[in-house]
Symmetry: C2
Subunit: 332 residues, 2 copies
DNA sequence: CTGTTAGCGCGTTCAC
DNA sequence: GTGAACGCGCTAACAG
């Protein structure tokens, strides 16, 4: 491997000067500078990033810890983050936690061991992993979910308001018996969206009926099972609000399997878009989240945190947007 | 920061012994070993990965260079790769090239600078980036696409055969005027799938009509435009074979916009699945690729290449699978 | 089996 | 504006 010493010898200067030329941090005589550049080209020299990292005790890596990259919500978010990373000179390390606190903790630990420059994380229900990172005072942005007791920059969407709007839209369409499939009790998004559902019912003068609420796991199979159980009620719901994309898909699949159609048999509003929601039959009404922006914002916060570590933690809340399509057409 | 020297002092042994205990590579007296572990726990010592990397002149990072993580094909592939990475002790660095040779080359360069342990890449049409990596003799696996003149482990699917089957299925359904929307001329998958299309026509005794073929860019808008142009033909096609998922979606959107329905107005077979193809209306017939397996296989090859660098490069070809759904129902 | 020693390649003092 | 020298934290080689 050719090192900075080889370049120095070849160009007749000291290694320190080569370093200065390459990092461009200080003034160097243009003539020497030119010699160095020539030597670099001739030797095909490439700086050793690892050595540089050791010396500076920090890397150019950002970790993004999410539950599953295959969920389009995270896919788009990660893309937003990576675009910022690229312009800022960082690389993104992808960490799928699968909602498993152990995996999450392992990644958090690796983040510290490998001296990564920052982390964006969508925390699982236990705070262990996030806490480790927060304690280490590494630049940290929580995304999508709040965690009680952890002070860090945070990017959220207006979950409660978004859910409110989605459910209100159903009520405005004449639906009264509206079911809700939400996520685990410990996850802030699940609770906030459930809470928006309840507010909308209240505002619409509809009594809250806990038999119409299901807690599932934010996954497709969970949505399917929850839908199935709702359909077994003596008096099944005439509309459904599902609090994430995968559970909505599961519910739709359940309906299709049973030969039921939206909105005629049951109207549907989902939280979070799915790709090509227009092509689904009938097209799916959703409370859309600005997923790409979520990632982008997290990237900006991470960058700001790095440049000015002292700043008090801030929380950015982005707006959701109701996308009215066919599954929520007014009751006939 | 607490270092290996602090641990050594605290436990009354040499730094080397601490290193041996922590890496577990050589036998150490159990008693000393215990002392070391105790000291590690007391001090909350965490090894410095960067220093370790410098010393070993290699990192625990794998790069995956793809055109866009938002394409479900790559999403799933990356997930497959990451699962292998995790069990083998690597992290995955995500690199979106957007089919831009300059971005790809920049990432390739960063891979070398940062001493990453290996790369999985879906090459753009120009070979520059891949060539750089191949010349550097870094463990390298090409996925999805072949590149002429570059010797490296490769994972592909049986593009030609898959396309053949998809088109044959249309012919068997009674369709004769079958159009094809394929990708750029320089991309191997585009050409291989086009070639399978032609073979199927030939086998079905149908004359090849180049007016029915469009070269687009593998993206949604390209598929849309190509479909539009096909519909403007004096004698429009009665069936369509599109060679990737995004262009298929684009074509479907074009049809929907024009009020045309599959398969009654035009039958459709797409190459590569999309998530929830069942929910699309009508459900979409596809030549499905084992995307997760593609990534997993790439990971295995990368690992093998690392453990036995001498082995001659191998090419693994995985099978596609025809998923017959509604858009290709036989002609009435 | 253990300790001593010497770098891995670089950036950054500190003198000049 | 430049060079000499040191050390970031670790592990591999060697000697014992």
């Amino acid at each position: 491997m050719t090192t900075i010493y080889d370049v120095a010898r070849r160009s007749g200067v000291s290694p320190a000067t080569v370093s200065r030329v390459l990092s461009g941090r200080r003034n160097v005589d243009p003539e020497l500078s030119e010699k160095v550049r020539a030597a670099v080209a001739e030797l095909g020299y490439r700086p050793n990033g690892v050595a540089r990292n050791l010396r500076k005790s920090s890397t150019n890596l950002w970790a993004v810890v999410i539950s599953d990259i295959e969920n389009p919500f995270f896919t788009s978010l990660v893309r937003g983050l990576e675009d910022v990373a690229q312009t800022e000179g960082y690389h993104v390390v992808l960490c799928n936690s699968d909602e498993d606190p152990a995996k999450e903790a392992a990644y958090a630990s690796a983040v510290l061991t490998d001296q990564m420059a920052g982390v964006v994380i969508s925390p699982t229900s236990t705070a262990e992993g996030v806490q480790l990172l927060a304690d280490a005072k590494i630049p940290l942005v929580m995304i999508d979910r709040r965690v009680e007791g952890v002070e860090a920059d945070t990017v959220l969407v207006d979950n409660e308001h978004g859910a409110f709007e989605g459910v209100k839209h159903l009520i405005d369409g004449g639906y009264q018996r509206i079911a809700c499939i939400t996520g685990p009790r410990k996850v802030s998004t699940a609770m906030d969206r459930l809470s928006g559902y309840r507010s909308a019912l209240r505002a619409g003068g509809i009594r809250y009926d806990k038999d119409l609420v299901r807690h599932a796991d934010f996954r497709e199979a969970g949505g399917y099972a929850a839908m199935e159980s709702l359909l077994e009620l003596a008096d099944p719901p005439e509309a459904l609000f599902a609090t994430n994309n995968l559970m909505t898909v599961g519910a739709l699949e359940c309906l299709a399997r049973k030969g039921l159609r939206a909105p005629d048999d049951i109207a549907v509003v989902g939280f979070d878009d799915i790709p090509w929601a227009d092509l689904v039959v009938p097209s799916l009404t959703t409370v859309a989240q600005p997923t790409y922006e979520l990632g982008r914002t997290a990237g900006m916060l991470l960058k700001d945190r790095t440049t000015s570590p002292g700043r008090p933690p801030s929380t950015v809340t982005l707006r959701t947007e109701l996308h009215i399509r066919a599954t929520s057409a007014p009751k006939k």
